[in-house]
């Protein structure tokens, strides 16, 4: 059974290793600051206690005040999972660092989030629209699109 790690405990551990990176640890995941995302990602992937080598899902939600990018991480070796979230409050130009070099699974999924939500992932080598055609204006999955 894939163990869902206790968010409080993980948040504490991450805070002591990277102080100030965790914003909150609610009952649905750990919210971290977007500028600390990459070093957390490397740590989560390469450390043996966590070993999150499998990025199962990367998606984004439009809560009207902010965007939230959700990462579902799984460790195949330790068989536990974690939910990581990053918030982004700027609605005109939301920018989140890309984790493509940590988990290549993020490649197409970040492109899709950019396409449908408009969140720019900086550091992504090929951030083009994926599902809609190149001349499309707008980002359909936003709540204010239609």
């Amino acid at each position: 059974m894939t163990v869902v790690l206790d968010y409080e405990a993980v948040a504490r551990r991450l805070s002591e290793k990277f102080p100030g990176s965790v914003v909150e640890s609610g009952k649905s995941g750990i919210v971290v600051k977007s500028d600390r995302l990459r070093e957390l990602a490397w740590f989560l992937r390469d450390s043996s206690e966590f070993g999150f080598d499998y990025l199962a899902n990367l998606t984004a939600v439009d809560y009207l005040d902010y965007f939230e990018v959700v990462y579902h991480l799984v460790s195949l070796t330790n068989n536990h999972s974690l939910v990581l979230k990053v918030r982004c409050t700027d609605r005109d130009k939301p920018v989140v660092p890309s984790v493509v070099d940590v988990w290549r699974a993020a490649d197409f999924q970040e492109r899709e989030v950019y396409d449908l939500m408009g969140i720019v992932f900086e550091g992504h080598p090929n951030l083009k629209r994926l599902l809609l055609w190149e001349g499309f204006v707008g980002h359909p999955l936003r709540k204010d699109y239609l």
Binding site: T2, T59, N79, A105, Q109, W133
Partner: protein
């Protein structure tokens, strides 16, 4: 004297006999050797995620049918599992067993189609396809008995299944399950040691183990590369813990291994169906949901082992009758991340074979 050569770009376009749907690849070729490949998708984008935000939870089920339209039952299964996980609903036993039977039948059907068309891409001219479709027709007849549909079933509901099985279903299913191992043996005998198949697929399009994990491949693609990760065993959902089955794992991660893993998975599915059939209890098939059905505030990520990989549904609910956010984790889109690495250096013929061995379905790539 060195010849001056120039690579040219070929569009293996949306309309092509072998792209399993409307999938386009811009291939840069140097003679016959593939130098670069760029997948272009979106020809079947229907906006399912946005549509789901204005439909009730039960009305989303037919939308999920049309994701991977060759394996609708498992799409339904994944979605209702996610909803039930968030709502905390316990499904009656009879419904659980029926769901497992349908899901495994769907797995067999999807793999039959995948292997058949893999061999069609290799050039075997529809003969393996038609042999495998003989069995697939029996499966479709079984499904038609239960829910009246042959392709997009809309069978599962939040809290159970929609129709109970008629009396002629179980004898037909027993007959099918009794004959199927013999047919799988026939396919293996005709195909697995075929010289030309071995020459075309052994060692071709290798996906190394580390890369498979890094790109979050799943399903037969991941297992062929040597990673023993099957959600039915690693994170069991529904009643899969009660069944005794194995998870076939390949060694190298080439096209032949992906083909072989699918054939072995079909055998294991037959085993699961036999066990589920024997233990099928009596009882009701669906619990009554309150009308209007609202999910509590929160979010959930529910994933199942669909035939093509890990199909996940991410639902965010704000206590209204429609989901606030509905996201599908498409296994085949993520499996395609490594297409370029698998294909570069091989020839055009191999491009088609490698792409066929990943077994994509455009419905879920484009949503």
């Amino acid at each position: 004297m060195a010849l001056k050569t120039e690579p040219f770009i070929l569009n293996v376009g949306p309309q092509h006999p072998s792209t399993h749907g409307v999938f386009r690849m811009r291939v840069t070729l140097d003679g016959e050797v593939v130098v670069d490949v760029e997948p272009v998708i979106g020809y079947l984008h229907r906006g399912i995620e946005k549509l789901a935000e204005s439909r009730t939870y039960t009305q989303v089920i037919p939308l999920t049918d049309r994701l991977d339209y060759l394996a609708s039952m498992t799409n339904n299964f994944g979605y209702v599992l996610a909803v039930e996980k968030l709502a905390g609903i316990k499904v009656p036993e009879r419904a659980e067993h029926l769901r497992v039977i349908m899901a495994e039948l769907m797995r067999i059907s999807s793999h039959l189609m995948a292997v058949g068309f893999f061999l069609n891409d290799l050039g075997a001219m529809m003969t393996p396809v038609l042999y495998m479709w003989r069995e697939r027709e029996k499966i479709m007849d079984l499904f038609e008995m239960v829910c009246g549909q042959r392709l997009t079933y809309n069978y599962m509901r939040v809290g159970g299944v929609s129709h109970d099985i008629p009396e002629e279903f179980l004898p037909a299913l027993e007959r099918f399950v009794g004959e199927m191992p013999r047919f799988i043996d026939e396919y293996e005998q005709l195909l697995s040691q075929n010289e030309i198949l071995l020459a075309r697929t052994k060692g071709v399009g290798v996906l190394p183990r580390a890369m498979a994990i890094n790109i979050a491949a799943s399903g037969p693609v991941l297992r062929a590369s040597g990673v023993k990760w099957d959600i039915r065993k690693a994170d069991p959902y529904s009643i899969y813990e009660r069944f005794d089955f194995e998870v076939p794992v390949g060694m190298v991660g080439d096209c032949y291994d992906r083909y072989w893993v699918r054939i072995q998975e079909m055998r294991q599915s037959v085993r699961i169906i036999e066990q589920a059939m024997k233990r099928l209890p009596r009882g009701e098939i669906c619990i009554k949901l309150p009308k209007p059905f609202r999910l509590p505030n929160g979010e959930v990520y529910g994933h199942i082992e669909a035939p093509k990989g890990e199909l996940g549904f991410y639902l965010v609910s704000d206590n209204s009758i429609a989901p606030y956010r509905f996201h599908v984790r498409p296994p085949t889109l993520i499996n395609l991340t490594a297409l370029r690495d698998m294909v570069v250096g091989w020839k055009i013929a191999d491009l088609i074979v490698i792409f066929g061995s990943i077994d994509v379905c455009l419905g879920e790539i484009d949503r």
